[in-house]
Symmetry: C2
Subunit: 341 residues, 2 copies
DNA sequence: ATCCGTTTCCACATCGTTTTGCGTGCATGC
DNA sequence: GCATGCACGCAAAACGATGTGGAAACGGAT
């Protein structure tokens, strides 16, 4: 006997045609109750699973979405991923989390990702090269950018109010009398680094003060970046009374390095982060930071993608959603003598 | 004109046949230097990308691998993922990280995952139901289990020496004079919880002591689990002098709850974790724990999968790899008065 | 009995690849 | 000059699903 497989096998054991099986699967055309039952029985009996390749070949959809992040070991990103899954799974989409390993790793992965023909891609990547941007645009894949505008025609983006968050941080520090405030950014070419610094500047301006460019250094969004940042700042001057870091990982690394240099936090120098990852509350002293609604960012991004995918809609105007942030004051900027609670 | 697409378009502009294009792509048959050049030129000109669906339809391979984890926000898992990518990307495979959200979420995701026909699946999941195990086995997908034996015929697994790690922890605690040692496990039905408890028992036995079952509680592998665990243990008795936790998240939650109850760590009670996630070094006091080589687990698992996939080999015997662990002593079990260094 | 409108199902073309079995054309050996 | 062998390319048949245009079956109305 010829061993059929796939939908053909189901059709045979159910005693109907291939197209009928397809109909009951997709519900595209009405099918009588009786045959529907037969088909479902056959499906169950054979343990049939549709072949996604064949399906996507015709339908031009893969029902899966990629999330491309620069560093999955940064606890911020898993939360974004979870948020996206909250929305995507119920909608029948599978989320694949791809780790570029670093900003520079993006290009290497992008080829892989485009080859896979995901229905949509969520990108949280800085410094996308022009070539990569072009590849993305040409591919026609739906893109939603996280945390910044990625500069692709017709792609939505969702970010949190970075500038506002840093303005709040700046006000808080200025309000506690700090004036010699250094800033450690991530990669210099990154939008977020600039935005965040911008928020800080804004706080200074609001207080009628100027902000000195010599008080800023750029490294990378990691703990090592924080250590390096402190080293760089303290080569310029040594009387900082506060260090504002572009994210929590940098802040944690910076605190490490400050302590290694015998400085006390916050008595000698205050430190702030951004994101409010779990570790921010756990370090000692606990870190003043800004809550970055990672999970909500993920949810929102997923919704944007789904809307675009459902509507076939290039017609709708580009969406740009900004989520608000919240200042979280902890010990690293306040209690003069950190102690166990 | 008929607008061809895909490989047919390439064939047309290169002035060769479809099969020839396929040949130069796959390198399955020799192709003359001249035509190879023509084809490559056409590919570049058209910006052609092969359709993975069509490809997998014929080749029955998707060139992608899934990693299924119970909780991607547990920092242990991103490291495993990175380790797998270390090996898989150079081999041309794409790794999709799927988050089940919880142990119980596995079943819900498994359907999705099997539908997608990944070439291989790495599972780090406890308490796989018999039904799910059967589905996996039937699917014929290559499976590698992480951290425990998943009980599927012919599937390899890689774990770390949990029992050994906990034995070391136990010896360390007993060596510092602690005797009333409680244990907070994760999910009770989980293999690791049992293995880890077993290691602790072994340490007691080695010292000629017995270990009391009433000293153990099971919750979940999260910070909340740690808080609950402490609550449960202190309902039984209140004179614990050490709490051994099944992972770092539990330990961190436990420390929180202990402090909330006014107990001092490690003066009143010592606490230990497992995994050595970043946060373990950051909490206050820093956490004594066991280094669990997450990244290496990922690499090893990926290698196992690749070997199986390359060899078409169901012939090779099942592999079972155990990675060694290392005790990391920090302040939560030693310095009587925690202080800033 | 005939005709028409529904309902229900089917045949067939199609999506973009891979793969096998055959032509070609050309050089080689006698 | 003729058979032989090689190196290259090509045609065509899968792979497993979707979807459209019709054909059959069935009632009800005339």
């Amino acid at each position: 006997m010829t061993q059929k497989s796939g939908i053909a096998a189901v059709a045979e054991t159910a005693g109907v045609s291939v197209s009928t099986v397809s109909q009951v699967l997709s519900g595209n055309r009405p099918v009588s109750e009786a045959t529907r039952a037969k088909v479902n029985a056959a499906i169950a009996e054979l343990g049939y699973t549709p072949h996604p390749g064949a399906r996507s070949l015709r339908s031009r959809r893969t029902e899966s979405i990629a999330l491309l992040v620069p560093d999955i070991t940064n606890p911020f990103y898993p939360l974004v991923a979870v948020g996206m899954q909250d929305v995507l799974l119920p909608a029948g989409y599978l989320l694949s989390i791809l780790d570029a390993g670093s900003q520079s790793g993006t290009g290497r992965l992008l080829g892989h990702v485009l080859e896979r023909r995901f229905d949509g891609i969520a990108l949280h990547i800085d410094g996308l090269s022009d070539a990569d941007r072009a590849r993305l645009a040409e591919s026609g894949t739906r893109v939603v950018a996280l945390g910044r505008d990625i500069g692709i025609e017709g792609s939505d983006y969702v970010e949190s109010d970075d500038a506002g968050g840093f303005a709040k941080l700046g006000e808080h520090l200025l309000g506690t009398g700090r004036r010699r405030i250094g800033f450690i950014g991530g990669e210099e070419e990154s939008d977020p680094s600039r935005l965040r610094l911008g928020g800080l500047r804004q706080a200074f301006a609001g207080a009628g003060l100027g902000y000195d460019d010599a008080a800023t250094v750029f490294t990378s969004f990691t703990r090592d970046g924080g250590r390096d940042g402190i080293a760089a700042l303290y080569e310029r001057r040594t009387d900082w009374d506060a260090i504002v870091c572009a994210n929590d990982l940098i802040a944690i690394g910076a605190m490490d390095e400050l302590r290694r240099r015998g400085l006390s936090i916050p008595a000698d120098v205050a430190v702030t982060g951004y994101d409010d990852i779990d570790a921010a509350a756990l370090v000692h002293p606990s870190l003043t930071t800004v809550e970055n609604p990672a999970r909500e960012i993920g949810r929102t991004a997923a919704r944007l993608l789904l809307t675009r995918l459902a509507g076939d809609g290039d017609d709708a105007p580009t969406q740009h959603i900004t989520l608000s942030t919240r200042l979280v004051v902890r010990d690293s900027t306040t209690s003069p003598i950190p102690q166990e609670r």
